[in-house]
């Protein structure tokens, strides 16, 4: 999924970036609050990881302004402060979750996964579509008991489509969810990934249909089972 990290500490941002990219997410990083507001206005982030202590405007203000303009992205607050007040304030302002520095890496990953599941309105970690099961916690994909090895982009495409199985996912939306703006993307990178994914799911998995001029759809009625 597409994630924005708002963190002024460059070293920490680099670390989280590596972690989440390795988990197959498309991740961008900005260091300031204003910058975060301007990029999130144009990019469809599913999750914003927001540090409270930013040099220009603090994370609470960023959150308040995001919510004020109707942004529905999941927001995970990161803070170095101890106080209960901060946590309550963040959650009251519309944060979805809260993590205190220094955090355990596994916890960050689990919370990111949990928030990702909630995005589709379905918090269950495992989705079954026909003969395919997709476990969003472990990243494990099986088709008729056969384990499917996916590359990170392929996983991102599958995750995005599986969350909205049976619906057409707009091509631009999918593109934005799969690639960060730092990713070197060729004009047909999405098509390449979709094609590879399609062949890995075949023959007994659900089909990925191309709706010309609109986007893609994971068809739950196809595939055996």
């Amino acid at each position: 999924m597409r994630i924005l990290i708002v963190e002024d500490d460059a070293a920490l941002a680099r670390g989280i970036l590596s972690l989440l990219r390795a988990a197959g997410h498309a991740v961008d990083h900005v260091a300031g609050g204003e910058e975060a507001l301007s990029v999130s206005a144009t990019e469809p982030y599913s999750l914003v990881i927001l540090d409270v202590g930013l040099p220009d405007i603090d994370g609470f203000q960023v959150l308040a302004r995001l919510r004020a303009r109707g942004d529905q992205s999941q927001v995970l607050m990161l803070t170095a402060r101890d106080g209960l007040d901060d946590r309550v304030r963040g959650l009251d302002l519309g944060a979805d979750d809260y993590l205190r520095k220094p955090f355990e890496v596994e916890e960050l990953e689990a919370r990111v996964r949990a928030l990702g599941r909630r995005r589709g309105g379905d918090a269950a970690p495992e989705i079954a579509i026909g003969a395919m099961t997709v476990n969003r916690s472990t990243g494990r994909v099986e088709v008729a008991g056969r384990l499917i090895e996916l590359r990170r982009r392929e996983w991102a495409v599958l995750e995005a489509l599986a969350a909205r199985a049976g619906q057409i996912v707009n091509r631009e939306t999918l593109q934005a969810e799969v690639f960060g703006f730092d990713d070197p993307v060729g004009s047909n990178a999405l098509e390449v990934n979709v094609t590879r994914l399609r062949s890995k799911l075949a023959p007994d998995g659900p089909a990925i249909r191309t709706v010309r001029g609109v986007g893609y759809m994971l068809d739950p009625s196809t595939g055996s089972g």
Partner: protein, 453 residues
């Protein structure tokens, strides 16, 4: 309490001493007064009897005669049964009475004027009243003497003295008895104050707000004010300390998070992670050193400025410690100074840390191929130390903020700092009474510290 006399005892002592002395003086004065009064009144009676007897001394046919009036002796009768003696003599010749009653020296007696004196008679003290009369046709003066023993006088005097002493004792006793309750009553505001202070002591987190004592007597107001001042200073100190520890722990959380993330990445086989871990540990180490320095700078306010420091020698020392860092960062490190002397007085370690932080900043926030320079100059009464770099500088409006603790300036200014460097410089300069000024070196930062010699 050992070593100090209790207030009660002090007051008791302070009041009892003068009171006892006063009682003694009153007693002595009473003794003199009472003796005098007793003597006068009895002398009057004795004089009356003498006069009555002397009246009856007459000359009959060339002979001196007298008719002792019984009333005269009746006057002298009293409950103490004092003995009464008399003697009437013509010249030295006894006419009647006690021959051995001490005779007066006739020449000192004036005519018809009674004289009184004490004398010894048969082993007793007596009071004698005597008068000299000159009778017509009698050559020699007639001397009439009446005397009495002193039992009555003494007993009267003693009674009066005893009454006086009893009065005094009662007075002193009452005063002493009253001192305790009076002291308790007077000292009650003090124990009330103690109660208010003790109430503070029992709280889990000490309440350092001013005491709310209500109205206090004038004597206790300075005490309460001093206590409030002490509380206020303590409050400042603890608040500062609390804020500092909160800031410090806050500041350590980010590098710790970096470490955790990078350790996890390293475990998953990231080659880059080790380098990141190294950087994060360096950062933590630097942060710790600076926190300690800052704590020391805050604490050093209590130390006297005891060292004579040559800034030139100190600068050379700092440069030799920082030269490797400068070479790695490709920054040229320079010292520009005359022959000196650049002597100041102060805490050597503090000044060293201050300069060290300034040079560290100048190297850290610089550009490859840049320059960091220490400049020393001296004028009348002042020594000026400046550190100039060729980095991005600090915009004028942010300079004040840059000197506060944990201030991090917006934007990417090279490697992450702790936000403590300039705070250390500021704190040290304040401790030493030196002036700190940030300026432009176009481009770059120019920091001047002016020491008053």
């Amino acid at each position: 309490m050992k070593g100090a006399i209790s207030l009660r005892f002090r007051l008791l002592l302070a009041m009892f001493g003068p009171l006892a002395a006063l009682a003694l003086v009153l007693g002595l004065l009473g003794w003199v007064l009472i003796s005098d009064v007793v003597r006068r009144t009895n002398d009057r009676v004795l004089g009356g009897a003498l006069g009555a007897i002397a009246e009856t001394v007459q000359v009959e046919r060339g002979e001196v005669t007298l008719d002792l009036p019984p009333a005269a002796f009746g006057m002298l009768e009293n409950s103490e049964r004092d003995n009464v003696y008399y003697r009437i003599a013509v010249g030295r010749t006894l006419l009647t009475g006690y021959a051995d009653l001490p005779a007066p020296d006739i020449s000192v007696l004036s005519v018809d004027e009674p004289r009184f004196r004490f004398a010894q008679f048969h082993g007793q003290r007596i009071r004698i009243a005597e008068i000299r009369r000159n009778l017509p046709r009698i050559d020699e003066p007639v001397v009439v003497q009446v005397a009495e023993t002193l039992q009555n006088r003494n007993s009267l005097r003693d009674k009066l003295m005893i009454a006086l002493l009893i009065g005094e004792c009662v007075l002193v006793g009452i005063v002493l008895l009253l001192i305790r309750p009076a002291l308790g009553w007077s000292l009650r505001p003090l124990s009330d104050l103690r109660g208010v202070i003790e109430a503070r002591d029992t709280r889990a987190a000490p309440d350092l707000s001013p005491l709310r004592t209500g109205p206090l007597p004038t004597e206790l107001r300075p005490l309460s004010r001093s206590f409030d001042r002490l509380l206020a200073r303590l409050d400042d100190a603890t608040t500062g300390m609390r804020r500092f520890t909160a800031d410090a722990s806050h500041q350590m959380r980010t590098p710790l998070s970096v470490l955790k993330v990078q350790v996890a990445l390293a475990r998953r086989g990231s080659g880059e992670a080790l380098h990141e871990i190294e950087e994060a540990t360096d950062r933590l180490e630097r942060l710790l050193t600076q926190l300690l320095t800052l704590a020391r700078a805050d604490e050093a306010g209590v130390l006297p400025p005891d060292h004579e420091i040559d800034l030139k020698e100190l600068s050379q020392h700092v440069i030799s410690r920082r030269i490797r860092q400068a070479i790695e960062a490709d920054v040229e490190l320079l010292l520009e100074a005359g022959d000196g002397p650049y002597r100041i007085h102060g805490h050597r370690t503090l000044v060293f840390e201050m300069l060290s932080n300034l040079v560290d900043n100048a190297i850290r926030y610089n550009r490859p191929g840049g320059m960091a320079q220490i400049e020393l100059s001296a004028e009348a009464g002042v020594v000026r130390l400046a550190v100039v770099d060729t980095g991005p500088g600090i915009p004028a409006e942010l300079r004040e903020m840059a000197m506060s603790r944990f201030a991090r300036l917006q934007g990417e200014r090279g490697p992450p700092g702790s936000g403590l460097g300039l705070a250390i410089v500021k704190s040290t300069a304040e401790r030493m009474g030196a002036q700190l000024e940030l300026g432009d070196a176009t481009p770059g930062l120019w920091v001047t510290v002016t020491f008053t010699v």
